[in-house]
Each structure stands twice: as C-alpha cells, then as structure tokens.
C-alpha cells in the first residue's frame, strides 16, 4: 500500500520566545514492512542540526530556531510503500538489548490493578505469543476508546482505573502489563491510515511492541484490536510516549504555548 503523509505541527506562543530547540524522531523506520519513497521534514525558519540513527534503529534529527519567534511549524511530507508483516518488525536493525525495555517509567508504572489485569489475562495461555495477544485483548476490553477523557500525562494505571482512554493509554497499559510479566515492551509512534475510502483522516497513532524471544519485536495495537499491518507507518520507539515522541522541543521564554496538529494520510491508487 502506498501512503502519502502530510503532517503539520504548529506551536504558537502568545509572547515571542528567545529561541527553540527540537529533537525529531519523525522518520519512517527501516524494516521489511515499509519502504520510504520520499520523506521531507522541515522546520520553518529553523536550522538543521546533526542527525544520526540511534541504537534502537530510529533516525533522530536536531533543529534549532533563533528568536524572537512566536510560531514554530514542523512540516512532514512523504510517501511510504507498506506491506503487511503481521506485526513482526522484521529486518529492523538495532543494537539495544530487549532487556533495556524492562524499566518502569512514570507513565508505565505497574499498579496492583495493572499486575492483576496482566496475570488474569494470561491464565491458561499456551506460549509467549499467545500471552501477548491475550494481554492486548485484555487491555482493549479494560480501557474503552474515548477521546478527551485522558491527557498527555495520564499514566497507564490512571487510564485503567478510569476505564477509558485513547491509543496512548492503551499502549502504556499494554507495556506496563507486559513488563509486569517479565516481557520487554516498548512504545511505538506512527501513523494509521484508518479509512479505506481514500479520504484524509486524523491519523497520528501509537501502539506497543512486545519482545517475543523466538520471533523478535511484534507490534500490538489494542486500540484497534489488531497487529500493525499495511495501514500502519512506524516511526520511532521508546520506553513510553515521552521517550518515543516524534517531536520533542523546548522554547526559551515566558510565553504560553498552543499546539495545533493536522495529519492527513491518503492512499495512492495504483
């Protein structure tokens, strides 16, 4: 499936800032499930810094914007050819040991409820892969999809207690559950092409990957109760949403920040 991405992020400040610095993890991963046809990232009025591929295989690029600045716009235009690998991150080059993804973070803190959910979900499971699938289903059941009830800093435990959330909460909860069972797990950010009719659609997405010793990293998307397929574009990963964020930035100054994001995915008819 060939997908076109148009992703514009704008930070508006109500007072001019002295400058801004950004770290972008905003590039399609290189693995068997996707091939980048073109991908242009631009920070308007910014200076491109160094870029590198980190140990987890993600490309990272730094940018800086000299002040005074009252608006920072990051634009992504690209095209990716995707194929369904049944969620398996095959052909992805990385050096980080899966064991490095056992660490708890604030967002993925394992409350007693998280641990209970995890242990109950895998009762009678046949193998690790089965356990991972059951965890993903259990999280989907325990947290109903409902936008607007959680926020960027909601933890997995909070979302579970609330019983509602969005893809970020699902991913955090699944990661916390997997780690509670001793399975390395990580947060993945990317895009999802959600409509088959080709119409543009809000499509920034996130899911989790769980390490299965005999296979490797496998993606699980509790929000859509599936494993990532050709509709998904994978960007970067991290211990949680904060680490995996496609855009991290700080602006120096006192102004309050307003964020506007538009993401449009379209399928190119062949």
């Amino acid at each position: 499936m060939i997908l076109t991405v148009n992703h514009v992020t704008t930070y508006e400040y109500d007072a001019p800032m002295r400058g801004a610095v950004q770290s972008l993890r905003l590039f399609p991963a290189r693995f068997d499930g996707q091939r980048t046809i073109r991908w242009d990232v631009e920070v308007l009025g910014g200076t491109r810094g160094g870029s590198f591929r980190d140990g987890a295989g993600d490309k990272v690029e730094g940018w800086s914007i000299r002040g005074p600045v009252s608006e920072v716009t990051i634009s992504v235009v690209g095209q990716v050819d995707t194929t369904d690998t049944a969620g398996v991150l095959r052909g992805h080059r990385e050096t980080v040991s899966p064991l490095a993804y056992m660490r708890e973070t604030t967002a993925t803190w394992q409350s007693a409820e998280i641990r209970d959910l995890a242990h109950q979900a895998v009762e009678g499971a046949s193998d690790t892969l089965d356990r991972a699938h059951r965890l993903s289903n259990a999280v989907a059941e325990a947290i109903a999809y409902r936008p607007g009830v959680t926020h960027a800093h909601t933890t997995a435990a909070e979302a579970l207690a609330q019983g509602e959330g969005v893809c970020q909460d699902h991913a955090h909860a699944l990661i916390a559950c997997a780690r509670a069972l001793g399975l390395p797990a990580r947060y993945v950010s990317g895009y999802l092409f959600a409509r088959e009719d080709g119409e543009a659609h809000e499509a920034a997405h996130a899911w989790a990957e769980i390490w299965i010793e005999s296979i490797g990293w496998i993606g699980f998307d509790p929000a859509n109760q599936c494993c990532p397929d050709a509709r998904f574009i994978r960007l970067g990963s991290g211990l949680d949403a904060r680490e995996a964020a496609p855009i991290k930035g700080v602006a120096q100054g006192e102004g309050a920040e307003r964020l506007e994001v538009t993401v449009a995915l379209e399928q190119v008819q062949q």
Partner: protein, 470 residues
C-alpha cells in the same frame, strides 16, 4: 580481626619510606605543630576549599580537615599500583564500549544482562554510538585500600566524575609552602603535571569534525554545587572555559558558547553534572542545568562529552564484582589489583549469609556513594544493625556486603600527638590518546579513632600523598 597494617611502623621499626619523616616529627615541637596546623587551615580558607556535607542540617560548607602527616609510597609500590590501575581503567572502558555496542560480555554469559541493561545508570540513548577513540570514562577514580605490605584491594570504581583531585593538588601545594625543607630532604615525585595531562586527555578526544586546536569547557552545575571550587580551580589551571548550561546552546549540529565576542564553538565538554541533567530533551525534562539538544549534537559527532553519558553503569557496586572478569575477557590478562570479596544480596545464598553475619560485614547500597547508606557492622550498635537489616530485607537486590577489611593505618596528627588512623587512596587515571597517571592521588583518612569511614561527608580528612623517586 587481624592486626591492622601500619604503613610507618613494622615490628617496632620504621619502614624505609617513612624514615626521614620520623626525624621530621621528632624535631617538631608541639607549639610549632599547632602553629603550622593553624597556618594550613588559614591557607585552605583563603583559597576557598570547602566541602558540603549533606543531611546534617545547619551550614553545609565546612573546611575539609587536612592532616599534615604525609602518606608515603615507595617507587616499587607505586609501580605495581600504577600497572593495576591502568589495567583496570582499560578494562572498564572496554566494558562500557561493549555494553553500548554488541554486549559481547553478556552474550558470552560472563555478566548477567539484567545487571547491565536494567541498571539505572544504563543509558539506552547512547547505545550504538561510539565516542571518540571509543572511550567512555576519561578520568577513572579508583578507590584503593591496603591491608598489608603487598596487599591492595579496590573498593570501588568511579567512572563518571570522580571528585577530589583539587585536594591532591592543593595538599601538595600547601605542604611545599609550609615545609620546603621536607621536599629538599625527600625526593618526591611531582603531581603538578595533572592539569596539563587532563587537558591533553580532553583535547585528544575532540570530535572528528574538529579540525583545529579544540576548545574545551568544564560544565558545572554552578556555585551552589559542593565541588564548584574544584571546577573553577581545574578550569583555571588548564586554561579552559568554566561554563554553566545557560552559557551554551546548540545550532547547526554544534555546541556554542556565548561570549562577548559572539558565539564560540565548544568541542569538548568536561561535564561535572550528572547524565540526568545534561539535556532536558533527552533525559530529565525538568532539568534547568543542561543544554537542550546537546545529546543530539553529541550523538551526531558535533561535540565530545567527558565522561561519556552512560559511563555510570560501570560504577555500580553490583557490576563492580565483575571487573576482574572484564580484565580477563577484554584484555586476556589476570587482574593485577584484587577486588574485595563481595556478597550480592540479590543472590539467595549470599543474602542468607549477609543476614546471618551482618554484625561482621560492611553492607552497602548498590547505587549509594560518598559513604551514605552503608553499615559498618563491627562499628554499629545492635539497634543500628537491626534498622539496616529491615532495609536490606525490603530490597535485597539493592545491597551488597563485604568483609570488614583490616585497613592500613598511617600516622596522623591528633589532639594527643601522633596516632595511627585508617586511610584509603584515590588515584586519578586519565584515559585519552594515552593512559596516564600522576604519581600520587588523594589519601583520605578516617580521623576518628578506629573509624573505617574515610569519606569527607562522614568526618574524614585528607593527606598529601607521596611517591618517592628512586
């Protein structure tokens, strides 16, 4: 416990390296001693050496006690130590490069992956990155204790930012000023080459993109930090910049320093702040001390950071037990310096042993440093031991234990005259294009009678450390 080794007197005789010092003390009247002590203190106050002590309340800035009685090594003793220290510094660096790369030592089953990758100090963010010359720890401070004429043990390794080298330099400076005749009578190896050697070391790890004499800066958290004096002192002696996070910014893949003549590119940062505070975009988002974007510049080869972020994983007290294994694995050599035998409470058998023998052991927190969070069994009351036992029982994996070593003692000026007090040694090994070690280090002394805790935060003092020339 066996008899402690006295570095000056053996069987009623004075050991050779201390022979001239005996004449020196014998010839020194008590009044002169008191006068010299006051003079030393005034000198230290004037240059501003203080040391912050945490957790006691009140004014944390206090003068670190200086003892005028030098600690002496023969050339032979030092050569042996030097070889062992350099070997260890090489092995520790090889380990760091490996665990942030293919982690062969874990694959080979020589060290558990859990201990490395789940370690608090392991920085996933630098995995796959190779710093210039493959060096992670450019200044390795190795804490060594002595238990006999030829028995030396490593207590711990400090691969991050070992402090205290300014005391090594100042102690010598002050001794030379107060007792010039001592330095004429004894042939003592100089230590004042350290700042130049440190500068060479830092310059030798400039990034490949730097095609001129590198600009070096010491990054300090600021004057509220307990080691601020040392930061400014070293910057001064090396002739490099002393900077705080707010003085620096990143642009175009490089790190820049704000100056009155405009931005100046900084190539090498000798940082004296922890990983967590280096860059709010990569580590703690609430850090006010760091430089946003610094880690992106570092990882794309625009600036060098010494020690390299992530070096702390080698300092861990549980990882410490594997250092002899690292020496064998990476260097194919037998370790020249021994570790202290260590029980890891994470292991069931070790845990059981530690709980049963707590009164005989030194029990330490795995991530603790500076003498905080440790129990010296034989020097503790039953209540203290019981309180500590509860802590160990709650989190066994956070503790290790070691036998109480019969630490060597050296003569020390005390209220009543001269008496033996326990000492350790921290030499500073520089790792860059070359591996260098100035002959000496920082000797810390436990000033309380019978005490084995030499940390300055726990009432320890310092001494000038001599290596005699041949």
């Amino acid at each position: 416990m066996t008899e402690n080794f006295n570095e000056m007197y053996q069987g009623g005789k004075v050991r050779e390296p201390y022979r001239r010092l005996e004449d020196w003390t014998n010839a020194m009247p008590t009044e002169l001693r008191a006068m010299k002590q006051a003079e030393a203190e005034a000198l230290f106050r004037r240059i501003g050496i203080t040391f912050a002590v945490y957790g006691e309340g009140g004014d944390p800035d206090r003068l670190i006690p200086f003892d005028m009685f030098p600690r002496v090594f023969t050339q032979d003793e030092w050569r042996k130590l030097e070889r062992g220290i350099k070997q260890r510094a090489r092995a520790l660096n090889a380990f760091l490069l490996d665990v942030y790369g293919r982690a062969e030592i874990v694959r080979a089953g020589k060290i558990p992956g859990r201990l490395v990758f789940q370690n608090e100090a392991f920085e996933r963010a630098v995995t796959g990155f190779t710093p210039p010359r493959g060096i992670y720890s450019h200044i390795v401070g190795i804490d060594i204790v002595r238990t006999g004429p030829d028995e030396f043990f490593v207590l711990e390794d400090n691969c991050r930012t070992p402090s205290g080298v300014s005391y090594m330099l100042e102690n010598r400076e002050i001794m030379m000023r107060m007792f010039p005749q001592l330095f004429r009578e004894n042939r003592i190896e100089p230590v004042d080459g350290y700042p130049d050697a440190l500068r060479r070391t830092l310059a030798s790890v400039a990034p490949a993109k730097c095609d001129r004499e590198p600009n070096i800066g010491i990054l300090t958290p600021g004057h509220y930090n307990s080691a601020y004096y040392e930061h400014s002192f070293l910057a001064d002696l090396m002739g490099v910049e002393l900077v705080e996070g707010q003085d620096l910014f990143v642009e175009g893949g490089f790190c820049w320093m704000r100056t009155t003549e405009g931005p100046k590119k900084l190539d090498v940062i000798y940082r004296r702040i922890d990983d967590a505070f280096l860059d709010p975009l990569c580590f703690r988002p609430d850090s006010m001390l760091g430089i946003p974007g610094l880690m992106d510049v570092y990882r794309s080869g625009g600036v060098s950071i010494c020690s390299a972020p992530g070096a702390g994983v080698a300092d861990d007290k549980a990882v410490y037990t594997f250092v002899p294994e690292m020496v064998r694995f990476y260097l194919g050599e037998e370790p020249l310096l021994n570790n202290v035998p260590t029980w890891q409470c994470a292991k069931p058998d070790d845990y059981k042993y530690v709980l049963e023998n707590m009164a005989e052991l030194v029990v330490k927190e795995v991530h603790g440093s500076g003498g905080y969070g440790m129990l010296v069994g034989p020097k503790s009351t039953t209540e203290q031991i019981e309180a500590f036992r509860k802590k160990v029982e709650a989190h066994p994996e956070n503790y290790i234990a070691q036998p109480t070593l019969a630490l060597s003692a050296t003569p020390t000026f005390v209220q009543e005259g001269i008496a033996p007090r326990h000492v350790d040694l921290r030499p500073y090994c520089l790792v860059g294009e070359k591996i260098e070690l100035v002959p000496g280090g920082l000797t810390r002394v436990a000033l309380k009678e019978g005490s084995l805790v030499v940390n300055s935060s726990q009432g320890g003092g310092v001494k000038d450390t001599w290596v005699l020339a041949e």
